[in-house]
């Protein structure tokens, strides 16, 4: 069964979920659980809680596969968005932890992107690293502090001493620039 499912698209896998095929969920896990776990762990810095996030995200997909709409993006981005949202909820519910994470995230944003430790593919990692380097420093900090630090744009503005409007504009322009850079490098953003 796995050999068959390993060849099918994510959309077909979700159709399998709608028909309650556990093999389909196993294949979703095989493809995406590592990234989901990695993102959750980076945000939460806690393996057990990151595992809980993976469980929640996959079980929610199992229970409600119709929440995934292929017209709104790939399954990968859907799962990562779900994981990110859940991890941020956990993070924001723990204010003491949040303070520490904000500090750590700020330090991380000021340092080098630890791409060598976190890559799935060296070529892709190189493209991502270059794309990040192409950002203005303010854009990069805003994107990293929100995405990997779980901060709101207002919190980023306070942390960096910038205007809120400036930060939200930088997040948007930073994401757009990343997309353009990756596309220019031949990376198809949005492929599952």
């Amino acid at each position: 069964m796995r050999s068959d499912l390993s060849e099918v698209s994510d959309a077909v896998l979700v159709l399998g979920l709608a028909r309650y095929q556990q093999e389909a969920l196993a294949e979703v896990y095989r493809r995406h659980a590592g990234s989901v776990f990695g993102l959750a762990k980076r945000l939460l810095a806690d393996q057990a809680k990151a595992e809980e996030v993976v469980q929640e995200v996959l079980l929610r997909l199992w229970d409600q596969p119709d929440r995934f709409d292929p017209e709104r993006g790939t399954l990968r981005s859907f799962l990562l968005a779900q994981a990110h949202s859940r991890a941020v909820d956990v993070l924001r519910a723990d204010t003491s932890r949040r303070t520490r994470e904000q500090r750590d995230a700020r330090e991380a944003a000021e340092g080098e992107y630890e791409i060598d430790h976190q890559v799935w593919d060296l070529a892709l990692a190189d493209h991502v690293r270059r794309a990040l380097e192409s950002l203005q420093p303010g854009e990069r900090a805003a994107v990293e502090l929100t995405y990997f630090g779980g901060m709101t744009y207002r919190e980023v503005a306070a942390a960096l001493g910038e205007a809120e409007g400036t930060v939200k504009s930088r997040i948007r322009s930073g994401l757009r620039r990343l997309r353009a850079e990756l596309s220019a490098a031949g990376v198809s953003v949005g492929d599952s």
Binding site: S9, A11, V12, V14, L15, A18, R19, Y20, Q22, A33, G34, S35, V36, F37, G38, L39, K41, R42, Q47, V54, Q55, L59, D63, Q64, P65, D66, D69, P70, E71, R72, G73, T74, S77, L80, A81, H84, Q118, V119, W120, L124, A125, V143, T146, Y147, F148, G150, T152, V156, G165, V167, K168, I171, S173, G174, L175, L178, R179, V187, V189, G190
Partner: protein, 262 residues
């Protein structure tokens, strides 16, 4: 562009990264419901973020076993309108009985297998099936604004000569509605003649795929317009009147509306 629109657009990046307040989140969700361009932008932002998250990390050993165990101990509950219908059905003892030994499997397979059985014979001999992978299972009913947007999108699909259309009629020839699937696989069902059902009933949309019948979504008891998605060519569409989705019934469903796409 109004100041409100400009403000909302400016927040889309932060929204995509979960970096807005709960209040802003709610306002943006409303904005997205009526602005396809903004939805597309958020989708693009999230795809970019997903690239950043591509960590190459392996999930820990044993995690899948724990998830799998959760699946075994509790079959997935139906959601949305189907859940509401099933709840009503259960309250009226309409749900199918199942032995403890086969209950989980029955619940998992019941919806598709049971209705496949009920309308399968009704469709025997239907068109040869070239076919497809149906992507979704998304059927939406929204507020007036969104419904208007859907109607506009459906009309655009109808105006596109590359779209496939079908008029759904019952055995008496009464027209229940018209369906259209555009070249990108976006499907719309525009209901015109489906009578309102009791609250414990629901209409359900089905597609014929390689001779098999697969659910495309639950429409509710009084649908007006709905969307669905399909990749490829669905040969036929059928709308049935279901008594508490998932309930095993004998024989063909009463009042089914069917149409062949062309």
């Amino acid at each position: 562009m109004s100041d409100h629109t400009r403000d909302m657009d400016e927040l889309l990046g932060a929204y995509a990264l979960d970096a807005v307040s709960d209040q802003e989140h709610a306002v943006i969700e409303q904005y997205l419901s009526i602005n396809p361009k903004a939805r597309a932008e958020v989708r693009e932002h999230r795809e970019v973020a997903a690239m950043l998250a591509w960590t190459g990390t392996m999930a820990p050993d044993g995690l899948w076993d724990r998830i799998s165990a959760r699946l075994e101990e509790q079959a997935p509950p139906p959601s949305g309108e189907l859940a509401a219908v099933l709840s009503l059905a259960a309250a009226r003892d309409l749900a199918p009985a199942a032995s403890p030994s086969d209950s989980a499997q029955t619940r998992r397979l019941g919806r598709h297998r049971s209705v496949g059985r009920t309308i399968g014979s009704w469709l025997v001999g239907s068109a040869a099936a070239a076919l497809v992978a149906v992507f979704v299972v998304t059927v939406m009913q929204r507020d007036d604004v969104a419904r208007s947007a859907l109607a506009s999108a459906a009309q655009s699909a109808l105006d596109d000569r590359t779209s496939a259309t079908a008029t759904l009629v019952d055995e008496a020839g009464t027209v229940g509605g018209r369906a259209v699937i555009d070249h990108d696989g976006h499907g719309y069902l525009i209901v015109s003649g489906l009578p309102s059902l009791p609250l414990d009933h629901t209409y359900q949309l089905w597609g014929v795929i390689e001779g098999k019948v697969i659910s495309l979504g639950v429409l509710g008891h009084h649908p007006e317009i709905a969307t669905f998605s399909a990749d490829g060519t669905v040969t036929q569409l059928v709308v049935t009147n279901e008594v508490g989705g998932g309930v095993i019934m004998d024989g063909n469903p009463d009042g089914a509306f069917a149409g062949t796409l062309g």
